[in-house]
Symmetry: C2
Subunit: 314 residues, 2 copies
């Protein structure tokens, strides 16, 4: 099942069920995705039973599947990304025996084709291609062995970052506020079964194709997460309940073979350049730059649709 959210002028938009080919839709019998998630076990079967899609889908009318959420927790569980980032940011944090995770701004997820306003071009504007999941309500203390059952949907995320602010904030130990403006989300939120055998041990086993201003930038593979999403849910829920509609991210998709597959953010390429040349050569984004992200299955299909966002001056 593929779900999306049409812009109807409201803050939460209007939930729709999207056809298998992504070209048409049916209205959902519930106001919005947040409402559906709050009663997911009853509503999901009704959404899945829809098999007629009478309306043509205009991708430009789509909001993020969840345009705002009560909670956004972003992991960083691709080890090859963490090592390069420490180099780029000039930090040397401890690598803990648990998944790294921060809480980010959740009141806004930008639409898949949004112009994204940034405060200052000089702050090191960067994209981060990620996978994410959206949960049902999760009781406090749910163990990883049970946490996978609370994953309702899988999503694809662009975690916008301001790199010049990231190192100084990280050194405080308090995490990021200014370095992490709102994220974007690809058009379709999908149930894990949509990925079939490519949803493995609660990891998305597909490539994330990233283009910057139309040029290929990365095609990293999603599976080598050091922790699966079930473990990220359990980590987040150890001392708090998670409300329905909690979004949890993987962190930037990254592979040890980054020299072959490329990267899902600019900072990682700069880290490689620092290793190779002693200094970065690739600049961060400028106003007017665009990024396109599209996870693809081996048959070439894009289960989350295409995210294509442009940076503009706020």
């Amino acid at each position: 099942m593929r779900l999306a959210t049409l812009d109807d002028g409201s803050k939460d938009g209007c939930l729709i069920v999207v056809s298998p080919d992504g070209g048409s839709y049916a209205p959902a019998p519930v106001a919005n995705l947040q409402a559906a998630l709050e009663d997911w076990d009853a509503i999901a079967p009704r959404l899945a039973a829809i098999n007629a899609f009478p309306h043509a889908l205009d991708a430009n009318r789509l909001l993020a599947p969840l345009p705002r959420a009560w909670q956004w927790l972003d992991g960083s569980v691709y080890p090859s990304h963490g090592a390069l980032m420490d180099k780029v940011l000039g930090v040397a944090p401890e690598k803990p025996p648990f998944p790294q995770m921060y809480q980010g701004v959740s009141d806004t997820f930008h639409a898949p084709r949004a112009d994204v306003p940034m405060a200052d071009e000089a702050l090191g504007i960067d994209f981060e291609g990620e996978f994410g999941i959206i949960t049902k309500a999760v009781p406090m203390g749910t163990p990883a062995s049970e946490a996978g059952a609370y994953i309702a949907l899988v999503v694809q995320i662009n975690d916008w970052s301001l790199r010049k602010l990231a190192g100084p904030e990280m050194k405080t130990g308090f995490g990021w506020i200014q370095a992490k403006p709102p994220c974007g989300m690809a058009p379709f939120a999908i149930t894990p079964d949509e990925l079939g055998e490519y949803w493995r041990n609660f990891r998305p086993a597909l490539h994330l194709n990233v283009q910057w201003n139309g040029a290929p930038f990365g095609n990293a593979y999603g599976e080598p997460m050091a922790y699966g999403f079930h473990e990220l849910v359990a980590h987040a829920a150890r001392t708090r309940h998670l409300v329905a509609g909690t979004v949890i991210g993987s962190g930037t998709v990254s592979n040890e073979t980054y020299r072959e597959v490329g990267s899902s953010c600019i900072a990682e390429r700069r880290g490689i350049e620092m290793v190779d040349y002693g200094a970065p050569r690739t600049e961060f984004m400028s106003y007017g730059d665009s990024v396109r992200m599209e996870a693809r299955l081996p048959d070439g299909s894009a289960p989350f649709g295409v995210l294509e966002q442009k940076v503009v001056k706020a």
Copy 2:
């Protein structure tokens, strides 16, 4: 103007306007506080004009004034607190030239008289007495000189903390997830004018009386914030817009004279004991323990009402 939220079974509760003596209330002509904040300039004068309070107020029926928020950003701007905490947590983070701030869980603020469920008594359960503000919508890039005008309400917060988890999370640089379960909020959210001359340069110039299991624990003074709330709003809004209903905290109220005035959290007392005796002597909270927090004006009145919460096993 004093506002509160009655438990009517809904997630956001029912907004009420409270009488000057705190003993009675009138229903507000808007569904809940979040809705009021989204149209604050129009609605606040209507609320302020209410001068008949026909219903007796039962404090046990009150939720947090804002039972859930889209964003909770907590500063740490009392310098004497930060220095002691580094000692207690065994960390030595850089003290940056900007206010320390983390983003915490905002989907739940516990009621003023809630039993607060905790996952494990061994995790170092602690209270943190704070002041906070709730904003109208704040445009990205609002400077401190203009940010004070976006402060709608002042609140009193108990930022529950799990100290045994705080140091390891802080060392990752990602901030806290497990160490910071949901906060509590005192009964009344008040407009700054309710504090009169005791709202000074966007700082609450009143004492926060804290009792642990009925025994006096602290009575720290709120004014000596290194940054005023206007500066915290500006810091938070530098690279993101703030949605209406964003809650921003001061961090634990603390004074350089903590040996005389006491502390607003147990960890700080343990820090003092480490200085005096080489090791802490005061244990953290046990199940069944209670904390009472009540900010008082010189005339003895409690503008935010009384927060009194008990720790229970989840």
